[in-house]
């Protein structure tokens, strides 16, 4: 049980990443594909935060906590994950803007029906 919980967060991150990739590769709808890409990105948040966790520790925010009174988790990964969330949201928006234009110019959002750009 304990050995499992010691790797479970990492395994969940790996699973989520692979699931997102699978969805992206087999998607029949570009909007769905963009959603799958954000699932892939969720994996990176999970991995980063799992890496920074420390048993029995609390958040490194000292507004309601005397510094040094309790162990704290790693703030660096949190800052990285924070940046990552922003990046994810903006990339999603930009991709959706492109999907809107693809729908306009091709009349479809099914990747199977996009027949340009071959060879």
């Amino acid at each position: 049980m304990t050995t499992l919980t010691h790797v479970l967060p990492y395994l969940v991150a790996a699973w989520v990443f692979l699931a997102g990739c699978y969805g992206l590769a087999t998607s029949r709808d570009l909007i769905h594909a963009v959603g799958c890409l954000s699932v892939c990105q969720a994996a990176t948040y999970v991995l980063l935060l799992a890496v920074g966790y420390r048993d029995g520790a609390t958040a490194p925010v000292f507004s309601d906590l005397a510094p040094g009174s309790r162990p704290v988790v790693d703030p660096v990964v949190q800052a990285l994950a924070l940046t990552d969330v922003v990046v994810g949201a903006t990339v999603t928006a930009l991709l959706l803007a492109l999907v809107v234009q693809v729908a306009k110019r091709h009349g479809t959002v099914d990747p199977d029906e996009l027949s340009e750009l071959r060879g």
């Binding site: 590769a25 594909a33 940046t83 930009l94 999907v99 750009l117 071959r118």
Partner: protein
């Protein structure tokens, strides 16, 4: 001096912000002048820093100098290669902005500053990536340049192909970026560090490499190789480069793809080259195999294109393969050669894209068959294309030729043959285009009308809209002067002897191996090989123009062309396969270690 390093990012960003804020108030002319001034200023700054980069500069952003060897801040590395790339980026940005001065379409209403602002942000992202000394910071700038590149690629939203290419580009590159981030997470978990040098040191302290190091290496390299368009991560590149506006193509092909190669070099050299990293034999195998595949695929596909921008895009893939082969030797000579080659290639490739852009704006097509003989009046442009093709082939004394000859001697054996062949074939394809389009040589192709004839797995160059509002009656001077200057620069890179020596010194100071004195100069063998590939290119082109039937697309290339299916799902599947291949290629050393 080192405090000025972050300005390479801050200045273009500030320029972009001001352009975005004031863009709707000022006329287009002012916006473009401001953008050019900012790009030029950044270029000057990069060159200034470059002249002071010996010994390499290190800046801790926010003034967080290391205490007892550890810093909580972000390191910026201002060594020769990094600043050299930043200078190259800035010069090309300036060239792209100058090129788009007259040619580019009217901006969307009320957003006169949007296009130049985006180009400046692109420059900032690339400069930031080139000078990053911190893995996560490198990811941030990597993502910034990707995001801007997606938007710039899809800039012509009326074009069906442009938005599709931009979407494929965006999906594949974003996935690559997330893989890179997963790798960063794994490496941070092991080492607790984010600085490149610190991660390397901590890995070495930990002991021999294990599966974690392998996974970190594979994931980080996946991200960078997607950017560098190595096989099998290359599918997005032709789709994006063929449809992006010409000034953007110049930047994408000229430097952004090369920054992926630069990233591979930097990350391997700083992080994974120690005893705790990946054994040299494995890294060599990974880079050599992928490089060789990339060069072959790029050259073959390049030969079979009739869409001129797509043809140039594939030639970029072929050359990326050659760069990977060069750094795959893991020798100082290989690095020196590639560094010079990248500089020369940037000038030549940007100039060729600029010429393709002139064709597009003048005739509303970039199809080799349709344009047959039509560009005879554009004699000057024709000369530029031929000169560019010779530069691509590696005719001495181009910078490409010097870099190629140094790299050829470093790789040795059958890979030298690959170097000669790949550069010859890509150059021959360009020469073929020049002979048909500008001279009207050879029989008129049957499908010169532009309709039909193309099989399902061929992208023709018809149906592309000019980037200017109307077709150009006369080619503006800026559009011809810029490629001419770029070609002159590429020529100077090889012809000025001090340049090669300076590059070699900068490279040796930057590598973790320490100072190794290498000499970069013309050798009889190098000159001979350069001449050989030029002669081969001319012969191939002559054959293709004179006897088109003899070299018409053979059946065996069809499966290769079918792989480029334009389907995003396929590209993602190949990306997954690519990570597996990377892992398998790097596995032996981990198992034995």
């Amino acid at each position: 001096m080192h405090h000025l390093l972050p300005l390479l990012v801050a200045v273009p960003l500030l320029g972009a912000a001001l352009l975005a804020a004031g863009g709707r108030l000022v006329p287009r002319f002012v916006a473009q002048s401001v953008a050019c001034a900012v790009a030029a200023g950044t270029a000057a700054l990069a060159v200034l820093l470059l002249t002071h980069s010996s010994p390499p500069l290190t800046e801790w952003a926010g003034g967080w100098e290391p205490v007892e060897g550890h810093s909580v801040g972000i390191a910026l590395t201002g060594d020769g290669p990094g600043l050299g790339m930043a200078a190259l980026v800035s010069v090309l940005t300036l060239a792209a902005l100058a090129y788009s001065w007259r040619s580019f379409d009217e901006p969307p209403h009320g957003h006169a500053g949007a296009f130049p602002a985006l180009v400046l942000v692109f420059q900032a992202g690339m400069c930031g990536f080139a000078t990053a000394g911190d893995l996560f910071n490198a990811f941030v700038w990597f993502e910034l340049m990707s995001v801007v590149a997606y938007a710039l690629t899809g800039h012509r939203v009326e074009e069906a192909r442009a938005v599709q290419g931009a979407l494929a580009f965006a999906v594949v590159n974003s996935l690559g970026a997330y893989a890179l981030l997963m790798g960063i997470g794994l490496l941070y978990a092991r080492t607790g560090e984010l600085g490149l040098a610190e991660i390397g040191g901590a890995l070495n302290a930990h002991g021999p490499p294990d599966a974690l190091v392998l996974a970190g290496f594979v994931l980080v390299l996946t991200g960078l190789l997607v950017k560098a368009a190595a096989v099998p991560f290359q599918f997005w590149l032709p789709d994006a480069h063929a449809v992006a506006p010409t000034p953007v193509c110049m930047l994408l092909s000229g430097v952004m793809v090369e920054l992926g190669v630069f990233g591979v070099w930097r990350v391997y050299d700083t992080v994974f080259s120690g005893p705790g990293g990946l054994p040299a034999a494995d890294a060599e195998r990974v880079l050599t195999v992928l490089g060789a595949l990339t060069a072959v695929l790029g050259a073959v596909m390049c030969w079979h294109q009739r869409h001129i921008k797509r043809l140039l895009a594939y030639s970029t893939i072929a050359h990326t393969g050659l760069f990977l082969l060069g750094i795959g030797t893991l020798t100082p000579e290989g690095d020196d050669g590639v560094a010079l080659y990248v500089v020369g290639h940037a000038g030549v490739k940007a100039a060729l894209f600029a010429c393709a852009g002139i064709l597009l704006d003048r005739y509303g097509s970039v199809d080799e068959h349709v344009l047959h003989g039509r560009a005879r009046p554009l004699r000057g442009v024709g000369v530029l294309v031929v000169v560019g093709a010779l530069g691509l082939a590696g005719l001495p004394p181009f910078g490409t030729a010097l870099g190629k000859s140094v790299a050829e001697e470093a790789v040795g054996g059958p890979l030298t043959v690959l170097y000669v062949l790949a550069s010859a074939v890509t150059a021959a394809a360009v020469l073929r285009v020049a002979a048909r389009v500008f001279l009207g040589l050879g029989p008129t192709p049957e499908d010169a009308g532009g309709e039909g004839a193309a099989d399902a797995y061929e992208t023709t160059g018809t149906g592309e809209e000019p980037e200017t509002r109307q077709r150009l009656g006369r080619v503006p001077d800026t559009m011809t002067v810029v490629p001419a200057l770029l070609l002159a620069g590429a020529l100077a890179a090889g012809a000025v002897p001090a340049f090669g020596t300076a590059v070699a010194r900068a490279m040796s100071e930057a590598t973790s191996a320490g100072l190794v004195h290498t000499s970069v100069h013309w050798t009889p063998l190098g000159v001979g090989l350069g001449l050989l590939s030029t002669v081969l290119a001319v012969a191939l082109a002559a054959l293709a123009v004179g006897r088109p039937g003899l070299l018409a697309a053979p059946g065996w290339a069809l499966p290769l062309r079918r792989l480029q299916s334009g389907h995003i799902g396929d590209y993602v599947a190949w990306l997954l396969v690519g990570t597996t291949v990377l892992g398998a290629l790097a596995l032996p050393g981990i198992l034995s270690g």
